[in-house]
Amino acid sequence: MNVIHIKNISKTYVMGEEQVHALQDVSIDINRGEYVAIMGPSGSGKSTLMNILGCLDTPSTGLYEFNGVNVSEMNDNELAKIRNKEIGFVFQTFNLIPRSDALHNVELPLIYGGVNAHERKRLAAESLQHVSLGDRMHHRPNELSGGQRQRVAIARALVTKPSIILADEPTGNLDTKTGDEIMALLEELNHNGNTIILVTHEEYIAEHANRIIRVRDGRVERDENVTRKIVASIA
């Protein structure tokens, strides 16, 4: 079954007098376990597409079904619930809460999901161990390196066992070596059955995926399966 089914969606912004068609007539299906890269230059509409896929925004027209449920007309609270339970976000700038330690950052989605304290701590610790940060649980973001911060963010994305992980330029703020480590981690997650949607404008990052959707001028320009690049090792 499709995790994501979008059909003929458009997104139009009104900027002053002018209407901006950020997305026009886009249709995409993504299956469970896929590793999809969405590519496009800036202004192509890929951010808008990502926001809609991540249920941060809703399309102006068209249908979006997530796990068979129509989310295109959901209200704020219903969308918040979908984001909480079904989507794990990994951002370019990590987006951790600066005043909270790693463990608390990872716990946060569980707090909003109403998981009790004991269970929460257990799951969050487990998730941090999964990304090899078991010994950094009580460090705050500013006490961690960029790569470690991104791994905390990945642990946070994983902790609710979401249907998809949505990574927006996850290596954009990292050096090449650390970026490779993060990409290896995402690859491992995909290997273990997680559905991953990667948004990037860099060809060599997109090559980690097994399917690349190219967006330009608000439309899908090309949607193709690719042979996955072999990654040598996991850090």
């Binding site: 609270n77 918040a80 984001r83 909480n84 987006n95 946060l108 989605p109 707090i111």
Partner: protein, 412 residues
């Protein structure tokens, strides 16, 4: 449903944790912000304490007057500004008391009282300016005093002007620190009196003067030894408090006749009663409370604006954080609650500082009024600061809760 209460509890706990992190991160700013609340809470607690003290002191004092006792005097207690009219009145005289005694039917007890300040002496101990009252035997009933030792003087002693006296407890403390005063002879002014009784301690009137630094002697003895009727008043205890107004009317009739007041002329005397104190006190109390309330409301309003302002700043500063929280599943209500908790915490901190400041001030106040800061005032102060926090935090919190996650995440 149980689950939803649990969710709410987690959100409140998280909200508290976030608030304290945020407040700790901006200690100086937070404390300055709460200044208005601090002033408001100091004024609310002190005002509450003062009003509490005033009414407690008043009630203690007024209960000594007796609600069913009327006082016939030259001056009304609360006459307003026509003092010149009262000044030219004739003094109340002893024969008027006799008229009341003879004619009044609705009266249970009545006594003339007249007083003067006199030096007293027992052996080598002495006391200056002790208030010496001349009264008859019914003084015990009209003033409601209780005997601690010995007895009050009798009608025969009163009418005969016997040289006997009854002491207030302060006088006993001063003159007889180590012995019983009963049967001893003391000197009041230039005359000697035998002590036959001691009145139980009464305390002070409105905290102003002691009711125990006094001596009561038979009124005829007073006339003999001190000579003066100046300032004489007549205390009348009604037979039934339900008929207090009738008793008053009866007294008026008797007095008008005794004082030869022409039929259409105004009374040239006053019949005072406790009720007048109560009314005046309530009026003063209302003014004090009104002023207090105004100052309090004003400073709380200023405090509320301060908190609202800083919360708007806080929301703007943390736009990105709000975006992150929303992205990972915080609902509108979650964000709203978080910021309401933060502003309530901020305000509560102000309130607690205010209570801490006003506690020593209330002890100072206690030097003047019989009061201590009541628990109820502290509870009200805490409640008020939380309410002010929630109200002033509402607009900023609402703005935070309605932030678009996409926009908020883009904010740097």
């Amino acid at each position: 449903m149980g689950m939803r209460i649990a969710d709410f509890a987690y959100e409140v706990k998280e909200g508290l944790a976030i608030s304290f992190q945020a407040i700790r991160a901006n200690k100086m700013r937070s404390v300055l912000t709460t200044l208005g609340i601090v002033i408001g809470i100091v004024s609310v607690t002190l005002m509450g304490t003062a009003i509490e003290g005033l009414s407690r002191g008043f009630n203690d004092s007024i209960s000594k007057l007796g609600a069913d006792v009327l006082y016939v005097q030259k001056w009304p207690w609360f006459g307003g500004d026509e003092w010149w009219k009262y000044r030219n009145r004739k003094e109340v005289k002893y024969p008027e008391y006799k008229a009341i005694e003879r004619q009044a039917t609705l009266v249970k007890a009545s006594t003339p009282t007249v007083g003067t300040s006199a030096p007293i002496k027992y052996k080598d101990r002495s006391s200056e300016g002790v208030y010496t009252i001349g009264a008859n035997e019914q003084y015990v009933e009209t003033s409601g005093v209780l005997m601690q030792e010995g007895r009050f003087f009798s009608q025969a002693e009163s009418d005969g002007g016997r040289p006997v006296c009854v002491l207030g407890s302060d006088v006993v403390d001063n003159l007889f620190p180590n012995e019983t005063p009963i049967g001893k002879t003391i000197r009041i002014g230039t005359s000697t009196f035998r002590v036959i009784g001691v009145i139980e301690k009464q305390g002070s009137f409105l905290g102003l003067f002691s009711l125990d630094d006094r001596i009561v002697i038979p009124i005829q003895a007073f006339f003999q030894h001190f000579g003066s009727q100046h300032g004489l008043q007549i205390s009348v205890k009604a037979a039934d408090i339900k008929n207090l107004d009738d008793t008053k009317e009866e007294l008026r009739g008797i007095l008008r006749k005794a004082r030869h007041v022409p039929p259409k002329a105004e009374d040239d005397f006053a019949i005072n009663q406790q009720e007048m104190f109560v009314q005046t006190f309530n009026a003063i109390g209302a003014v004090v409370a009104g002023i207090g309330l105004f100052i309090t409301a004003l400073s709380l309003f200023v405090g509320a604006i301060g908190i609202m302002n800083i919360m708007f700043v806080s929301v703007t500063e943390r736009t990105k954080e709000i975006g992150i929280r929303k992205a990972i599943g915080a609902k509108r209500s979650t964000v709203l609650l978080q910021f309401l908790i933060e502003s309530a915490s901020l305000s509560l901190i102000g309130g607690l500082i205010g209570i801490i400041i006003s506690y020593p001030l209330s002890l100072l106040l206690n030097q003047i009024l019989p009061t201590s800061m009541p628990i109820s005032v502290i509870a009200v102060a805490i409640l008020i600061s939380i309410v002010v926090g929630v109200v002033s935090g509402f607009l900023p919190a609402n703005r935070a809760s309605k932030l678009d996650p996409v926009e908020a995440l883009r904010y740097e």
